[in-house]
Amino acid sequence: MHVPDGFIDAPVSLATGALAAAAVATALRGARRELDDRAAPLAGLVAAFVFAVQMLNFPVAAGTSGHLLGGALAAILVGPYTAVLCISVVLLMQGILFADGGLTALGVNITDMGVVTTLVAYGTFRALLVLLPRRRPSVTAASFVAALVSVPAAACAFTLLYALGGTTDVSLGKVFTAMAGVHVLIGVGEAAITALTVGAVLAVRPDLVHGARGLVRPLELRTSPGSPPAPEPVPARTPAPARRSARRVWAAGLVTALVCAGGVSYYASTSPDGLEKVAHDKGLDSRTEEHAAKGSPLADYQVKDVSDARISGGLAGVIGVGVTLAAGTGVFLVVRRRRAHAPTPAAEAPAAGSV
């Protein structure tokens, strides 16, 4: 999926370049927090790992084989910031050294494969971990779903970039269908391999899996063999009842949203809704302008080029819920982090003054 030069026009290439630069700058700051001064060697080695693991071929059937893309895997194993950084470095080196992916398309490639894949994968993963019971199989299952979602999400992002700056006017529906169709298949493979790999790492070094940090049982200190475990020096994370109920609310909300979006819209009548019908009857809509997003692949809540209106509506609904959920979770996490960080500057201020 490495985009070559000339595939996306110059303005969009420049804009995505700026976006990618901003994302990498954020990731640099975040990775320093995730890894402190170990960032350079560790992120470098993880980048080398991503680079090498893309060469590991997984036979599918009848002589064909696929390989891992690694965005979701890196996000779950080392955290989102380091993952964005590693994938970006891999893409940069592939572009400069191996001429894989154009230099002017570097921004497009980093935005698409580095940022979107990683963020969608990590967002989905985190959201699922909140919902699922806090046990090890949940991590594997969540990584499966995260990888499964991340690959078609990258395909959608590519379609969007193509819609903005594609140099050939292939109809967007066709691009979307082709990209999404192929990448759903790729995503299934990616999901299976990612889940198996995360499971393999969990079995040996669960402490290394960034996404499973909260699940590792705290070490048991024993003073002499056979004696009962020493009292816990640090109180283990207390299972807050509020968290529990929040999870239940969230789960119920998600299920309801999915049922509404996918199921109900499947059975909903395809006739226009009340206001649209009234407007049409009264001739009100003769002058209404076309919506700006009319040509978008999800316009009118239908996935273009999917012929069955009902399946199409349902699919568009589910995609919409997914996107909304991801965006909502992102906002929620940002707000929560802000709130968690808010008191620190005040607390640090006197300390800084005394130095």
Binding site: G6, S13, A31, L45, A48, P59, V60, G102, T168, T197
Partner: protein
């Protein structure tokens, strides 16, 4: 560990004027060239031939054999396949070519991607073939890429071979125990390989960090050799993008008139 280094395959040592240029000049020249190529109107077909001639002149000066250049162009094949599909799926007026109804904008689009993509790949290949890996990283650092990013990239390059070699040894170990991956059933074994590879890479990273600390690492790498460029070297490096700009201006004039 007796591993051959991938840099041997990418870099072709030499003493040509192109090899002698400072790396950051070369990186900027290639980037400028590719930018100019991408912004050329696609209808000016002759302009792309001139660009190719410019690159051929650079390859000749650097004494890089055409066979190497052509072989490394193969990396582009997946997108060639995509470009070939374009005339069949694109919208617009149909023209008959060899008895097939093809879309005219699609044909132009395919030509656009093929020409610009190939020129971009060729320029990158020339850069990598005439510049040492370490020099490229120094050049990136000189171009004010964040130092942490350059460090990560240099660790990736330095240990890429080691990690790839570990993967190769694991493959040999699997094969010598009679394992051959034949289908989806064997994914578990391969995924365990990937998991082991991750653990080994991460632990190696921790060891490397400790080794660095014991040698006095405090967050930044010492800059031993600062690369600098004289005005004459800048001028020589600028020859390629400046010539390309002239061709590009001609191309726009041709497209307009």
């Amino acid at each position: 560990m007796g591993a051959g280094h991938a840099s041997h395959r990418l870099y072709r040592p030499g003493r040509s004027p192109v090899h002698a240029l400072p790396p950051h000049c070369k990186i900027l020249a290639v980037l400028g060239f590719v930018l100019v190529v991408v912004s050329t109107p696609r209808t000016a077909v002759w302009a792309f031939a001139l660009y190719a001639a410019l690159l051929a002149a650079v390859a000749g000066t650097a004494r890089i054999p055409a066979a190497l250049l052509l072989r490394r162009l193969l990396i582009e094949v997946p997108f060639v396949a995509f470009a070939v599909l374009m005339p069949f799926v694109a919208e617009g007026e149909r023209v008959r070519v060899l008895g097939l109804a093809l879309s005219e904008p699609g044909l132009w689009g395919a030509w656009n991607v093929l020409a610009k993509g190939t020129l971009g790949v060729a320029a990158s290949v020339l850069l990598a073939a005439s510049t040492e890996l370490r020099a490229l990283l120094l050049g990136l650092q000189r171009l004010r890429l964040p130092p942490l990013l350059v460090q990560i990239a240099s660790f990736m390059i330095r240990y890429g071979d080691v990690v790839t070699d570990e993967l190769r040894r694991m493959r040999v170990a699997r094969a010598s125990r009679g394992f051959r991956a034949r289908g989806v059933r064997h994914w578990g074994v391969l995924a365990r390989t990937a998991g082991t590879l991750f653990i080994r890479s991460y632990e190696r990273g921790e060891r490397v960090h400790l080794a660095m600390l014991s040698r006095g690492y405090a967050g930044t790498m010492p800059v031993i050799d600062e690369v600098t460029a004289t005005r004459a070297q800048w001028a020589r490096a600028a020859a390629l993008p400046v010539a390309a700009v002239a061709v590009c201006a001609g191309g726009w004039a041709y497209a307009a008139g």
